[in-house]
Assembly symmetry: C2
Amino acid sequence: MAVYTQISDGELEAFLGEYDLGELVSFSGIAEGVENSNFLVRTTADTFILTLYEKRVNRDDLPFFIELMRHLAKKGLNVPSPVPGRDGATLRELNGRPAAIVTFVDGVWRRRIRPSCCRELGAGMAEMHVAGLDYDRVRENNLSVAGWRPLFDSCDLPKREIYHAMHNQLNMELHHLEAHWPRDLPVGTIHADLFPDNVFFLGDTLSGFIDFYFACTDILAYDLAICLNAWCFETDGSFNVTKARNLVMGYESVRPLSAAERAALPILARGSAIRFLLTRLYDWLNHPEGALVKPKDPMEYHQKLRFHQGVSGPAAYGLT
Amino acid sequence: MAVYTQISDGELEAFLGEYDLGELVSFSGIAEGVENSNFLVRTTADTFILTLYEKRVNRDDLPFFIELMRHLAKKGLNVPSPVPGRDGATLRELNGRPAAIVTFVDGVWRRRIRPSCCRELGAGMAEMHVAGLDYDRVRENNLSVAGWRPLFDSCDLPKREIYHAMHNQLNMELHHLEAHWPRDLPVGTIHADLFPDNVFFLGDTLSGFIDFYFACTDILAYDLAICLNAWCFETDGSFNVTKARNLVMGYESVRPLSAAERAALPILARGSAIRFLLTRLYDWLNHPEGALVKPKDPMEYHQKLRFHQGVSGPAAYGLT
């Protein structure tokens, strides 16, 4: 939970003066999100989210994210849609940070995942993939296979004795992934961070997606593999095959997977597990004392990685 | 900024099931407030605030606060109004904590205080005092003169060498306040925490008051003295007499002060300064490493206290 940058009423009113959004009625910082500062802004016209992009987001990537949301919203997907100011610009500056106002997406994220949620998620993700196919901007995924080794090295595990065993395991896993990472699967624009808190529901129906700040151009099925990890394990670490099958079936109801994509799911799931394992490990080892945001436990993803290392094929995910 | 207790969608939906407030549309934790956990809840009917009362709030005091808000709202003041469930109860339990839903008060708090804000504040506070005169519940102010000595003792300043000089100064000040604290001034229901972040404005007009969780039965003019400290000093520590005069004139436009109340303002301001100095000092000395909420600087109120110690009478506050 975090608001890193405070905004004064005067600063906000001056900022809103560049938009046609009516008068300010209220605003409050939102205690969710770990990368950027988010504010709920109500005006006489509507409710919006104002985001201030903090230092972990690369400024050069912002046009990719903003235009992607606009692209998807135009195609009818329920995602935050960037609101232009009177001058047409969606990205401007507030308090020394890049800032944008986006529309508010109704919905609640599901803490308790039911299999039917996974089916909704799969179908919604596939719709997003299809809608993103003609998005013309490209952003390389700096957290895919080429990015893992430098991240692993920067964790500097050999320096810490208790991590020696993990260092050797991950080193071997990285060699395996680097050697076997699929090269010919369909590529497109993926969300790349579809954790439950970025997927909204109204009742049992998926109502929208938020937080496109890891979106990139990468293997489409990799997004599915991320969700296998983020949605299909129980809190005790066990893998729920019913949820996995629902996820894939939901996806295929919109965009059927090729045989090659299905066959690649185990290695994509291993890659996705190591991606979140490494970023969490890095944050775990490097978070400052008394940081506002408690780092997430990397061991959760170590356990998930081991599960995927042990599967013999896509049948382990309920695929027939 | 803080949300101490997380709520799941399922818990919230079950909780909302006890109300007639329509379907849940969205909810998010609010990164403001340091005592309780607050959530912005939107339903198909309206927008509300859900508060979970954390351990610093005494459960036995909650009916006083809740009923006070209801009392003031009924009299037309724009304050959060407790929303009853279908069974008529406003105070219930969620996630092991007392919880209440209140109406949302539109407005924005002013980071930059103009003298005209102080006039609005004075008039609004006086209206609140008048409206509270026939509120029939009583809550003693445990942070008034009788409470300061125990709080001072619990800070245990003699244990820390750098605080020895402050210990002696505050000890003398407490003796002075205990000997001269006024006993016969008009008493009523006061807010007791009217800092700028608890007072909302829409444009230049005061739109409402929030956060009644320090409200109590005490000297009415003490509320005014709290605002002299919280609203009339500049960030460089200088006292702005124009703001003070606006505050008192605004107050008197609704409820004129007696000669005794005016004469007592300097000592009430000293008392209010030591009250916030002591609670901040206590929090400063006792906050846990890595606490979510950064404690406020007690020295700000030490400086304010010294200002009031030096005034010769109410004329120092711009009163003629």
